[in-house]
């Protein structure tokens, strides 16, 4: 009796969750893959037609798709250079402070603000007529730099990334802080006695020991930067002139507005594959060197 329960028990407990994931995650991915090999019939009542790799071939010659993909990759780079580095610096500054949890709580506040709300509020800050940013620049004597940040293709992508960065450095800071607190302080004492200066200590002790945390943040940043949608959809809708177009927004547009579900399925398949490969590369590189 006990034995039978022992054999069945775990599956009974796992059943609901696995079934759930099967319906709402695994099946959709398989279905998405399947859909990507078809195209809609000539009329609404016609069955979809198998077209092999035609949708993927179309992707290869779709300039807008490549532009969107480049913007996603630029977003990965910007997100590593700006919020991840800021988060690391803030965490290093905080780790030995008594008020660290207070600061961390304040820095984390933007993370709790919905991305759509951040996009709305920053839209006002960037507004050319009443925006706080241009007004601030005027006050400090840099009025010449004032511009319509989100409306100019030259500045739009970076400006919109600042919105994402604003909601992200607090997350990074909190995670780095937890990682730093896990490092044994005696290691630093030993290094101090050996005469290592603070930069040296950071470079040869903190960073290597922080590696698992760094890898997590990098992978998380890559996944987030490749799949994000809300901020662009609300702040710029991919404009002006497609200068902030990203894959998720382009795919959404193809699917919802243009009814191109098969082509959109191929696009999201490629995006998923890229996310997977990039994440695995970071993880593999990180584990090889240790």
């Amino acid at each position: 009796m006990i034995d039978a329960r022992g054999r069945l028990g775990p599956y009974l407990f796992l059943g609901p969750a696995i079934l759930y994931l099967a319906i709402w995650v695994y099946y959709p991915i398989a279905k998405n893959f399947y859909l990507s090999f078809f195209t809609a019939g000539a009329s609404r009542s016609d069955a979809p037609q198998f077209v092999g790799l035609a949708n993927y071939q179309r992707l290869l010659s779709d300039d807008l798709f490549f532009r969107a993909l480049m913007h996603n990759l630029a977003w990965v780079a910007l997100s590593i250079v700006i919020p991840v580095v800021i988060g690391l610096v803030l965490a290093v500054l905080l780790v030995e402070r008594r008020a660290r949890l207070f600061y961390a709580a304040v820095f984390f506040l933007p993370v709790t603000v919905a991305p759509i709300m951040a996009a709305i509020v920053w839209g006002w800050i960037y507004n050319p007529t009443f925006g706080a940013l241009n007004q601030f620049l005027a006050v400090v004597g840099l009025g010449g730099l004032a511009q319509p940040w989100l409306a100019d293709p030259a500045t739009a992508l970076v400006a919109v990334n600042m919105i994402g960065s604003w909601g992200y450095y607090g997350f990074c800071a909190l995670i780095f802080l937890a990682g730093l607190q896990g490092i044994d302080p005696e290691i630093y004492d030993a290094a101090r006695i050996d005469g290592a200066n603070s930069f040296r200590r950071f470079w040869s002790i903190t960073l290597p020991l922080l590696k698992p945390t760094l890898v997590f943040v990098l992978v998380y940043t890559i996944i987030g930067s490749m799949k994000f949608f809300d901020i662009i959809y609300v702040a710029t809708k991919g404009g002006p002139d497609n200068s902030t177009q990203i894959v998720a927004v382009y795919m959404f547009d193809l699917f919802i507005r243009q009814g191109e579900q098969h082509y959109a399925a191929a696009m999201s398949m490629v995006l998923t594959a890229i996310i997977l490969v990039m994440s695995l590369l970071v993880i593999r590189n990180a584990t090889r060197r240790t």
């Binding site: 775990p10 991915i29 600061y103 919905a114 706080a132 795919m251």
Partner: protein
């Protein structure tokens, strides 16, 4: 002497940087609050300061006259339901992973982890088709079901790492006392893991409350929209009523702010537990 100056400079620089980021973190939130209380005219003349005549009337106007109380209820119901179901499913699955060794354990756990990398974007189209064929578009159930899938892997992962930390002696003792699996879960694992469950609850609630992508596609009928979609819908119709858009934003943010202030430790635990392992 030189070294002391360096140190002083470094301390000043460090404090300056921290204060700068306190301001950067808080300013947009402050702006949102004051904008919701200003008139159109004041908005342009007076960007940074508090409103001279706060227009508190914007709140009843948006909530009652424009019926945004409905979106508040929708969001509360959506986030609440998703959070509860996610916790139940996660605890059940985590129990199996943490307590049992069984055929396929590794494989199933990897399958769960794969779910961590799957995004809304990769499953949008089939999920939409599935909901359509089950007649669940524009329904509360249709909003809840796929939303749970997005956080479930994280929940299982989090609860499994936590359940694994429960001392084995405790489990064995309960077993000897004749506890069934369900009793062991409810009377031992869950009570010991309340902090972790609290962390999962606040994170899941926040995610769902702020979620936008699926609800945007699934809830196109106004009376079903959660706040995130309702705000964008509102903006589409009243783009230049900045103060009213700000009011809707504040209405969406205040419950999260309260939750955040009250359960900060849970937030911190939820965010860092997944990362630092």
């Amino acid at each position: 002497m030189h070294a002391t100056f360096n140190r002083l400079g470094a301390t000043l620089g460090a404090n300056g940087l921290l204060i700068l980021f306190v301001i950067i973190s808080l300013f947009p939130v402050y702006l949102m609050f004051i904008t919701s209380l200003k008139s159109q005219a004041e908005l342009i003349q007076n960007v940074f300061a508090l409103p001279r005549n706060p227009k508190w009337g914007n709140y009843p106007l948006v909530l009652i006259e424009r019926s945004y109380y409905r979106a508040v209820i929708n969001s509360l119901m959506l986030a609440g339901t998703v959070t509860i179901i996610t916790i139940v499913l996660s605890c059940l699955a985590a129990y199996a992973f943490a307590v049992y060794d069984f055929v396929g354990r590794q494989l199933l756990f990897v399958l769960v982890l794969v779910g961590l990398m799957v995004s809304e974007v990769s499953i949008l189209i089939p999920v939409y088709m599935l909901l359509k064929s089950w007649n669940l578009l524009n329904s509360f159930v249709g909003l809840v079901l796929p939303q749970i899938a997005l956080g479930l892997s994280f929940g299982i992962f989090l609860m499994t790492t936590f359940f694994l930390q429960v001392p084995k002696d405790l489990v064995d003792a309960a077993r000897l006392d004749g506890c069934t699996d369900l009793q062991l879960l409810m009377r031992v694992m869950v009570p010991v893991s309340i902090p972790a469950i609290g962390a999962l609850a606040v994170i899941e609630f926040l995610w769902t409350w702020n979620s936008f992508f699926f609800p945007l596609v699934i809830a196109t009928r106004q009376d079903l929209m959660p706040l995130s979609v309702a705000i964008i819908d509102f903006m589409g119709r009243f783009t230049f009523n900045y103060e009213l858009v700000a009011t809707t934003c504040v209405i969406m943010f205040v419950p999260i702010l309260i939750l955040y202030v009250l359960t900060q430790r849970s937030f911190r635990r939820g965010v860092t537990m997944g990362a630092v392992k």
